[in-house]
């Protein structure tokens, strides 16, 4: 199969040993997919008819960042190291930086919001999704607004469809965005691709909530790429519900630029059969007293594979900031492959960073308990999968997304359709 390949996708900012094959991934896109328009946007006109732009909001923020910049010379050792032309041992008090530490220090010196903007998957993935989308939908709030919008990408077998969305949340406004990435193969074996490319600027004290549901059938490749910039006091809540898709790539990068900005990310995922899940989260704390929390919870069954890269980057100057990352994984079958890399990069002392992970199988005693009640191991595993799907269905933001979850669940579990009747 001929494929277009995006290399170094979802790369961690600070790589580890190459032999672990966790640093990044490779996205292969079949070249014979037909570009289709399958995106619908449900939003009030006052949200879409706007002259605001993501670039404009970033430029305004840059002016304030420049105005706040002090003119005191930064003589820290890492700055000296980044500014010297060649590395030598003439000055033994200047450390030899690694490539990512050098990049980080140079970014810090430049202090350029637009240049530092990034998304979680890859700039090439963004370009490809932009090409599929044809144009970018801009959703912009006015100060004091409380808005909601839904973007649906409905993929078909043999087709490739993508959405490109910019959200510009004005100061003191709020917006609730739902993105549904659904691919219904309708029994076809043909491959398909769906994706969304999202840029969010959350203005001062704005509240932005983004929920992404991925409910594609196993033949689909799904790319969910996003980048966020948060101004002072902004709060962003993101929920990623990843239930389907043969290969899914979820990437999120966030620049907590303003003081007291806060980012909350909740990820719930399920992978079955031979499905693959790839997550890359990068949270850069730049403002003072910024907070981030990442909480991932998933079930892997069959011979599925998952990689979760989570990076909390506490950048010099983000005094009083806190970053936290938690992951709980249930390995419901012996053939699964679970990879986790929870990274904390810390260039500031007055901060707190922590992460934890619990990775475990269904314990023999738990299986025994269930066995005593007439449940085989397969039935027990199906129970865990069903629990994930039921939770997703119950919390689905609308009927259409709930129907997508039920369709997916019915393909995985024989009697899952009964659940639909129960909750109807």
């Amino acid at each position: 199969m001929d494929a277009l390949t995006i290399r170094n996708a979802s790369a961690m900012p600070a790589p580890t040993w190459g032999w672990l094959r966790m640093n990044d991934t490779k996205i292969e896109i079949p070249v014979d997919l037909e570009r289709i328009r399958a995106v619908t946007v449900e939003a009030d006109e006052d949200l879409t008819e706007t002259h605001a732009s993501f670039e404009g909001a970033v430029a305004d923020l840059q002016k304030r960042v420049d105005a706040a910049r002090g003119d005191a010379e930064d003589t820290r050792a890492c700055v000296r190291a980044a500014q010297r032309e060649t590395e030598s041992l003439d000055d033994l008090d200047t450390p030899a930086l690694s490539a990512y530490q050098l990049r980080a220090t140079r970014d810090e010196i430049a202090n350029d919001v637009a240049a530092a903007f990034e998304t979680g998957v890859h700039v090439d993935a963004r370009s490809y999704l932009n090409f599929l989308a044809g144009s970018t939908v801009v959703l912009a709030t006015e100060s004091g607004d409380d808005e909601a919008a839904v973007v649906r990408v409905a993929g078909e077998a043999g087709g490739a469809a993508g959405a490109s969305v910019d959200v510009v949340a004005a100061a003191d406004s709020s917006i609730d965005l739902t993105i549904s990435l659904d691919g219904n193969a309708a029994g076809s074996d043909a491959a398909g691709l769906i994706g969304s490319e999202l840029r969010v600027f959350a203005g001062a004290r704005a509240r932005v909530s983004v929920t992404v549901y991925i409910t594609a059938d196993a033949g689909f490749t799904v790319i969910d790429d996003a980048g966020y910039v948060l101004d002072e006091g902004a709060r962003v809540d993101v929920r990623h519900i990843v239930l389907g898709g043969g290969r899914t790539y979820t990437g999120l990068a966030s620049d907590l630029r303003g003081d007291t900005a806060r980012m909350e990310i909740g990820t719930r995922y399920l992978a079955s059969g031979t499905e693959q899940r790839d997550f890359n989260y990068v949270i850069r704390h730049r403002g003072r007293k910024t907070i981030s929390n990442m909480d991932a919870n998933g079930v892997l069954t069959g011979t599925s594979k998952k990689v979760l890269r989570g990076t909390i980057d506490l950048i010099h100057g983000c005094k009083g900031s806190e970053g936290s990352e938690r992951e709980t994984v249930l390995l419901a079958n012996q053939g699964v492959d679970n990879k986790t890399v929870p990274v904390i990069l810390c260039d500031e002392d007055d901060v707190a960073g922590n992460h934890g992970a619990t990775i475990g199988h269904v314990r023999p005693e738990q299986l025994f308990y269930l066995g005593c009640r007439g449940l085989s191991q397969e039935a027990a595993e199906a129970l865990f999968v069903a629990a994930k799907l039921e939770d997703a269905a119950l919390s689905a933001p609308d009927e259409q997304i709930r129907a997508n979850v039920v369709r997916l669940g019915s393909a995985l579990i024989d009697d899952f359709a009964d659940f639909e009747e129960e909750i109807a």
Binding site: M22, N23, D93, N354
Partner: protein
Amino acid sequence: MAKQRTEVADIDRSLYDFRYDEEGFERLDAGLTPEIVTEISQRKDEPQWMLDFRLKSLEIYNRMPNPTWGPSIAGLDMDHIVTYVKPNTDQKADWDSVPDDIKNTFERLGIPEAERSYLAGVGAQYDSELVYHNMQDTASKMGIVYSGIEEALHEPKWEAIIREKFMTLIPPTDHKFAALHGAVWSGGSFVYVPKGVKLDFPLQSYFRLNAAGAGQFEHTLIIVEDDADLHFIEGCSAPKYNVANLHAGAVELFVGKRAHLRYSTIENWSKNMYNLNTKRARCDEEGEIEWISGSFGSHVGYLYPMSVLAGRKSKSSFTGITFAGAGQNLDTGCKVVLGAPDTTATVETKGISKGGGIQTFRSSIVATPAAEGSAATVSCQSLMLDDESRSDTIPSMDIRAKNVDIGHEATIGRIGDDKIFYLMSRGISEEEARTMIVNGFANPVSKELPLEYAVEMNNLIKLEMEGAIG
């Protein structure tokens, strides 16, 4: 009101930072060529297979890239590194026969006194060669072999074993500096503990690199047979120069069934050193490896002892501390492969960074499909002593086995003002308070060391903390 920042003053490292002339020493040319590699082998009168191994390693070295994920090693120019420096003496078995300068070096480092007090045997390497090796009669009578590895290579009985094991845990293809080691290794120890033998007192090897612009490439090979028990201590130091020195040693440990090996290291290389060392242990059924590691020195450090738990119910524990001060970028941690059923691993590390130093904890836990019923826990705590330093944590887990439990936790932070305030309110100065807190932070590591080494480690922490308050 802005908080007062601490300032870092120069550290008095005179305990370790002294040097002697190299009169009478033999230096090969700087750089790395097949001729140099061949000459090292010929000087040691090695068997042909070892020369072939060296030359093959050199080929691998030449085609492998430098690592791109860790601290920069751009300041290390192999064309200016002398890979072999022979001191003006052969190996001795009594200190009185060792030339004065070299003997004085080890006297100042306290090695002969330690040998008299509590060690079962000592090996001392100066630059590229062992200059002293001795073991107490009681240990000899137990059948324990503790000698220079080159010496053992000339014994037919041990040559066969060395040939079977040498660089099998750390193959030259593992990474560029493993290949370099395979090409130019020199010196190091060979330890063999027979079945069922338990040695109550530790053996120690101490490595001193005196020569400016030189490399040290010692190879340590330890075999602890079934049901045996050993504690091995490794120490190292060097005087400070303004040119790069290189340490690319290798440690290969084979732990038999139900055997136990504790491997303790206090690393205190000078701050112009590139420490690119590799350590690896393989444990058979119910075998146990304990790593105790203190990393204090070096300009750049890459150090990740690795445990391969190949036997059912085998165990690994890693307890480590890394202290990165001004000018240092120390990338340390460990690797564990859970490769058999019911294996267990614990990792507990502490990292401290200060004065613009950079400390990175890097780890991997890999549970292969064979590791059913295994468990691992990783705990990593980092302490930032000022806002000029950096502390990164890059752990990874790859879990493919059935019925495993893997737990991981990490925290990064600084000393709380409330703790300093509390101690100062009891009449303790701020400097003392900080040192006390850092010593307490390091306590889980120091308590695992023999008393004398715990004292040395605490002294190193004190040295690093000196002048930390402005």
